[in-house]
Structure formats: C-alpha cells, structure tokens
C-alpha cells in the first residue's frame, strides 16, 4: 500500500508530467481557450486523482488486470499531463489553494490510515496501512513546512506566465518580460539568473531601466510601456 501510493502513483504522475514538453505546441495552444488559468486542467487532474485515492480503486488495480491497465494509462495521461500543462498557467491563488489542499489531503488520509482499526484494502495488511499513514503525516508536515518557509521568506515564485496567457496587465507585478523594453527585459533575465523571483527581478529591471543613460534616436527611451495610472514600484515593497 505504501509502495503503491507513495512510489508507484507519484512515479506515474511524474511520467505524465515528462510528456508535457513533447506534446506538439499547437495542442496546448488549441486547448488554451478552454483552460484559462489552468483551471479546467486542474479540475480534471484532481477528479482523476480522487478516483485513484479510493481504497476500492487501489484494491481493484491489484485484483483486476483491467483496472491495473486503466491505472497505468489514466494516471500519467489524465493527472500528470494535464497538471503539467496547466501548472504554468495557474495564478498565485490557484497554486496556493492547490498546495494547501494537497497538504490537507496528506493529513486527512494519513491520519485516517494511521488510526483506522479496520483494513481499508483487502490486498494490504493493517501494518502496511499504518505505516503509510505515518509516512503521509510526515510528508504532509514536510510540505507544510516548505510552504511556510517559502511564504515567510518571500521567495514564493508565482512564475512568469508565458506571454498571452494573462489578461492585460493592470499591475506591474503581472508584467511579463515581453512587455518590458529590451534593456529592462535583459536586466530582468539577469536578475532571474541571479536567483531572484519574478517580482524581485521586475523591480531590479525597472530600477535598471530608470538608471539608463540618454536615449538615442535609434533606441527609444527605456521608459516602460507602463499603463497610465499604474503604480511605480515603491521601496517599501523591495523587502518582499
């Protein structure tokens, strides 16, 4: 049970994620119109994952070869792949809710497996079930600690969404490198390479753009194509 839930299924999900880069680029472009913010893909992955979390399904995938085949196909193709295609489109809030829910699921199921006096799978013994529960509690705790660390240290990367996947930027935090002037974009890239998060790199890029020397005729001023009324990054946010 421990091996199936904490090794086999995660590996199958990982295999699905690895498929994402080899999907022909026109496919994500076509499904994008149906998957704004990665929401539909996330729902699909979550529902299929829910099915494979049922004790009955785990049992059946051992007892019935057809269910085993269904698992080996559906976990990579309907969980891993949609997840990998949707994650880059997800906003900060969606990612946060997903991660919090993953942590909560580890705690709920881990606790259930740990304390349940009855075997939930006919194919697995009680000691295996209890060990799985303990491991899940530990993993959930570790994940929570990592999330907390990321949040507290302000390094939670909301990702630089690919151009065109976002609604028109209304706040400079949502600007993508493509919307920056060439100088600012290269400063942004440098900053990202130095390990800064998206916001940090944007600030660095904006700062660099403001420090640039006199514009030439062939090179337009480095002033950013900032929408009217948008806020200028203030020093108070640089500590983030």
């Amino acid at each position: 049970m421990t091996a199936q839930m904490l090794v086999q299924i995660p590996l199958l999900i990982g295999a699905g994620c690895l498929l994402a880069p080899v999907v022909p680029t026109r496919v994500p472009a076509r499904i994008h119109a149906w998957n704004q913010g990665g929401v539909a893909g996330l729902i699909l992955a979550t529902l299929v994952a829910t099915f494979w979390m049922l004790p009955r399904s785990l049992d059946a995938s051992i007892s019935h070869p057809l269910m085993a085949a269904a698992k080996h196909l559906s976990v990579p193709l309907l969980i891993g792949l949609p997840f990998a295609l949707s994650w880059p489109k997800m906003g900060f809030v969606v990612r946060g809710v997903l991660l919090a829910e993953v942590v909560a699921t580890f705690f709920r199921l881990g606790w259930l497996y740990w304390v349940s006096p009855i075997r939930l799978c006919n194919n697995y013994g009680l000691d295996d079930q209890r060990r799985l529960g303990a491991y899940m509690l530990v993993l959930g705790g570790g994940l929570l600690a990592w999330l907390g660390w990321k949040l507290l240290m302000g390094r939670f990367d909301s990702g630089a969404p690919s151009p065109g996947s976002l609604p028109p930027a209304t706040d400079h935090w949502e600007w993508t490198p493509a919307e920056l002037s060439p100088e600012a974009a290269s400063a942004y890239e440098d900053a990202r390479l130095r390990g800064l998060c998206h916001e940090g790199a944007l600030e660095a890029a904006l700062g660099a753009a403001q420090r640039l020397p006199i514009p030439t005729a062939s090179h337009p001023p480095p002033a950013l194509s900032r929408p009217a009324g948008a806020r200028v990054p203030s020093a108070s946010r640089s500590g983030k």
């Binding site: 704004q36 539909a40 529902l47 829910t50 099915f51 049922l54 009955r56 799978c121 006919n122």
Partner: protein, 205 residues
C-alpha cells in the same frame, strides 16, 4: 470568451467527474472493496460454483450438495490465532442459538479452509473441537483442488494475503447462502445477534 469556455468545461468536468465517482462508490456508500462486496451481494445474489470439498471426516461433497438448506459460511485456516478464533467463537454461539433450525435440517454451518495444504481433515476436526462444534450442524471443509480454492474464494470475494508471521491476513465475515445455493448476504464478524435474527426471519414463512 476563453474564461466562459473554461467555466463551461470546468462545470462539465465537475459534473461528469462527480457522476463517475458516485458510480465508482455505489452512490458514495462503498469506499472499500469490503463494503462494495456486501452491497453487491445484497443487490444481486451470487450463484456459487459446485466446488468439490472434503470435510473433517474426509467425506467428499460439493457446494451443490448443500442446496435446500440455508448455509452460514465463514473462511478460516486452522493455524489462525486471530480473526479465525473470533469467527470460531461466533459460529459456536450461532450453533447454540440456531440449534432448532439446525436440528430440523433447515440450516447448516460451514467453515471453509483457504489453506488446504496445511488443513487436513484431522486439523479441521480439531478446529471444530476447539470451538465445541458438535457436527453435523457445523462442518469444516477444505477445497480438494487448487482450482476449487480459487473458484470458491473468487465467488465469495475472499482475498487472502500472507502475513510476516507465516500465516495469512484475510477479510473475515459471516456469509449467508440461500437454499438455491446463492450468496445473499454478508455480515461482519461479531454480528451474531443480527445473523440469528436475520436467519430466523428468513426461515419463518
């Protein structure tokens, strides 16, 4: 536009997925194989194969020979010190409480061993003695062939897995077979009162 499409697709996925999970859990009632097995049997009784068995006295018979009587069946192996001991206690109690229909030949108790390699008729006999099973109301039997063992455990939905102590872990329950030779109900270990009431209800016309 793409927000609308995404919303439509998401709702469709949620409805389809919710429906799928409802089907997969028998309407959110059965999350484990064991619960599902019980619900399925109650909804649709399972016809049992005519598996050749051998009882504690070495007498050969088949599951079909039990037709015409109600039969309470459990699955055990005689070396078992945990679940089978509880089941043995339950059957011992049932034999006393249901002595009347047993005496009239309308009910039979049967303990089937899923470890025929170790459980020779002598072992089965001593198992019955251990729980003061008096026979012929309570018999213990083992499948004669490996094939029969597989057939009977599959029909009843019994999963047996080896444990680390050289024994087995198995889903233990009390099974009720009707006079037509169909598995019609499954009860939890320890539900002696419920089984007694249920059997008496079914026997009174």
């Amino acid at each position: 536009m793409s927000a609308l499409r995404t919303a439509v697709l998401s709702v469709a996925l949620l409805v389809a997925g919710g429906e799928g999970i409802a089907i997969a859990t028998d309407g959110f009632r059965a999350f484990t194989t064991e619960t599902a097995r019980r619900l399925a049997v109650r909804r649709r009784p399972v016809g049992l194969p005519a598996v050749p068995l051998e009882n504690q006295s070495g007498v050969a018979f088949t599951v079909d020979d039990l037709r015409g009587r109600w039969v309470l069946v459990d699955f055990i192996y005689t070396r078992c010190l945990t679940m089978c001991a509880v089941l043995g206690g339950d059957f011992s109690q049932l034999e006393r409480q249901l002595a009347e229909p047993i005496a009239r030949g309308r009910l039979q108790l049967l303990s089937v061993s899923f470890d025929p390699a170790h459980d020779a008729p002598a072992d089965l006999a001593s198992y019955l003695t251990r729980f003061r099973g008096h026979g012929p109301g309570w018999e213990a039997a083992r499948p004669v062939a490996e094939e029969g063992l597989k057939q009977i455990t599959t029909a009843f939905g019994i999963t047996v897995i080896p444990d680390q102590l050289g024994g087995y872990t198995h889903n233990a329950a009390i099974h009720l077979v009707d006079p037509a030779g169909r598995l019609v109900d499954i009860y939890d270990v320890g539900q002696v009162e419920l089984v007694t009431r249920s059997v008496l209800d079914r026997l009174t016309p």
